[in-house]
Amino acid sequence: MKLRIAVLSIVAALLALPAAAADKVKIGFVTTLTTGAAVIGKDMQDAVNLAVEDIGGKMGGLDVEVIFGDDGFKPETGKQVTDKLVKSDDVDFVAGYIWSHVLLASQKSVLGAGKFLISSNAGPSQLAGKLCNKNFFSTSWQNDQTPMAMGEVLNQRGIKKLYVMSPNYAAGKNMVAGVERTFKGEIVGKDMTKWGKDAQLDFSAELAKAGASGADAIFVFYPGKAGGAFVKQYEQAGLTGKLPLYTVFTIDSIALPKLQKAKMKAVLGSLNTQFWGPDLDTPQNHQFVSGFKKKYGRYPSFYAAQSYDSVFLIKSAVEAVGGNLADMDGMRAAMEKADFPSVRGAFRYGKNHFPIQNFYLRQVVEDGDGNWTTSVVSTVLKDHQDSYVGECKI
């Protein structure tokens, strides 16, 4: 008898489970929390936690719950955790995604289930064009845009011959395509190196080739830890001054503290392009950067900035429908307006839901406290839209 009651109550408890969770906004956030790339994931996680704190843990009167998922730097694992977030945790929004190939592998699981997918970093050309979806939004950029800005900078600086290096994966190919799109000179050499969890980190052979290629400058895309390794070897190979370094997504606040610790002075003064910078003068950016520095004792990276924005984008959607999470159309319409305080200042969404925004030239400098950071020099592209929006048929 006792046993039967116990069994019945367990069954009752299990049956009651799905009904309990409805007065909360659940956000799944997929990023890399293991392997060497976890340093990026950590930065994003910190920014999301800060954002949730800054909004008092509430959106449109509902409590906010963020569930983090680790993609292990692998598309397949990323898809698995995405499936789990969608099917098991039944989240309302899935955000995050550092890596283009992880996002491409996972997007079907979210969009197929009719949920919102917010990319906080990856911006593969496919999702801007052919695969664009009404429920997909980006708080970052399309991959090609930042290198396109860099191509303009190279033209302005009179570079005629360029050497290009990038890892061999979706974003790497987009970065190279982007710089090729705007750069008017000749590309004298190109190396696509192995990427993934066992990425190639010793670039001696490639750097020797670059040095001997007769190029005026080298353009590089090496996100995360590979960036630090590249810059060190660039200096050791004696290319500083001989082959000026232009980068995208390589020298950021994740690489800089390590480079500073290692006294790699070659990096000071080097140029990169970005849609944002820690010193960008907007009210939301002041709040974000000073809050982040206060809480974590370091500069936020652009990954962190985009993740912070993701939370505010979601908040704008939930508030527009007064917390009625079933109103997908209302939330979508709200997000399409991009009516939230973004760290980059005001921007618009294109019809593929990628931002139409400015891109800035930034230089690596030492700040007042002696820390290395980047500082905005000038605006390269104004209100720039990606090149794939035409392929998007929404």
């Binding site: 680790d70 190939h101 592998a105 997007q107």
Partner: protein, 319 residues
């Protein structure tokens, strides 16, 4: 050998209970609306097929292959590449998976089986790595980034696997068939030669068995079974990348086989279940779950001769 049915049932009740649980699982999962666990079980069973196929050469034949996950890749690309050209015919995809895996096993087996021991381990790895880098370099099929498969195999009106529960039963049927096949092979004349060649090949040859041909045939069958697992995997995940052929995946397959008990029929399935179980439960609790998995592997290697399956048999006093 000639035990009556009730005795047979009594002796093998865990296996029958396992089958029952697998068959009933979708009902419970649907009832509690937890479709994620259907995915977990499907992954488990697909890996169990792959591990069982490896067990055929590794456990029974003594051929330690560190390149077995290449067949999962071949099978999955046999779904992905036709799908890329809008060819969803299930028959075509299945034939490609089995044929591709079989041919790859035949060609590489002719070379690999000339070597022994560590050399065999490394040469199977070499061929798997070549395949891995080949797919990395084919930009058309996504290269490193892999391919998204938008629809599952199409069997006309016969059987619609777009429905996950039907796919689940297809996977379960494939697993049972694989286990049955392995059981039959191992206990046949053919299997006796394979097992004999593991412990003493010169003697088997002296007795007059062309062991090379037997071992090659076994190697090809194993590859094709794993190709079947790959075909299911491609359908199940809807995504395929060269990463699936990485050597660490082959290492995981080996670990599953040994963990569960190599050279036993159900060992690989037990190993796959422990792997997936730990991944599902521990990864929830801590990002450091690999530590516990690693410790378990070390302990099993040290104390659990015959793996968890062997341990279970010893506990029950069955040989």
């Amino acid at each position: 050998m000639s035990s009556s049915t009730p005795q047979y049932l009594a002796r093998h009740w865990p296996a029958f209970a396992g089958v029952l649980v697998l068959l009933a699982a979708p009902l419970a999962i649907t009832y509690w609306d937890q479709p994620f666990y259907l995915d977990v079980l499907m992954r488990l069973m697909i890996l169990a097929i792959a591990a069982s196929s490896l067990n055929l050469i590794l456990g029974y034949g003594g051929m330690i292959s560190l390149g077995h996950s290449v067949y999962i890749g071949i099978g999955a690309y046999a779904v992905g590449i036709p799908a890329y050209y809008d060819q969803y015919s299930g028959v075509l995809q299945l034939l490609l998976a089995l044929g591709g895996a079989g041919i790859f096993a035949l060609v590489t087996g002719l070379i690999c089986l000339r070597t022994r021991g560590a050399y065999f381990i490394m040469i199977t790895l070499a061929f798997a790595q070549m395949m891995y880098f080949t797919f990395v370099s084919i930009e058309e099929y996504g290269g490193d980034d892999g391919l998204v498969i938008y629809a599952r195999s199409d069997f006309g009106g016969l059987f619609d696997v777009e429905n996950s529960i039907r796919l689940y039963y297809l996977v379960a049927a494939c697993l049972l068939l694989t286990l049955l096949l392995v059981h039959r092979i191992v206990n046949s004349h053919f299997g006796m030669v394979i097992r004999g060649a593991k412990s003493n090949e010169p003697r088997m040859r002296a007795v007059g068995f062309p062991t090379f041909r037997y071992r090659l045939a076994c190697y090809v069958i194993s590859g094709m079974l794993c190709g079947l697992a790959g075909w299911l995997m491609g359908n199940f995940t809807g995504f395929i990348s060269p990463e699936m052929m990485d050597w660490t995946r082959s290492g995981e397959l080996i670990a599953m086989v040994i963990l569960g008990g190599s050279g036993t029929l159900l060992g690989p399935t037990i190993g796959a279940a422990v792997f997936i179980g730990m991944e599902t439960v521990l990864a929830e609790v801590t990002v450091y779950w690999h530590l516990y998995l690693g410790l378990l592997l070390i302990l099993v290697a040290k104390f659990g001769r015959g793996g968890l399956g062997g341990l279970w048999q010893r506990i029950r006093g069955v040989r």
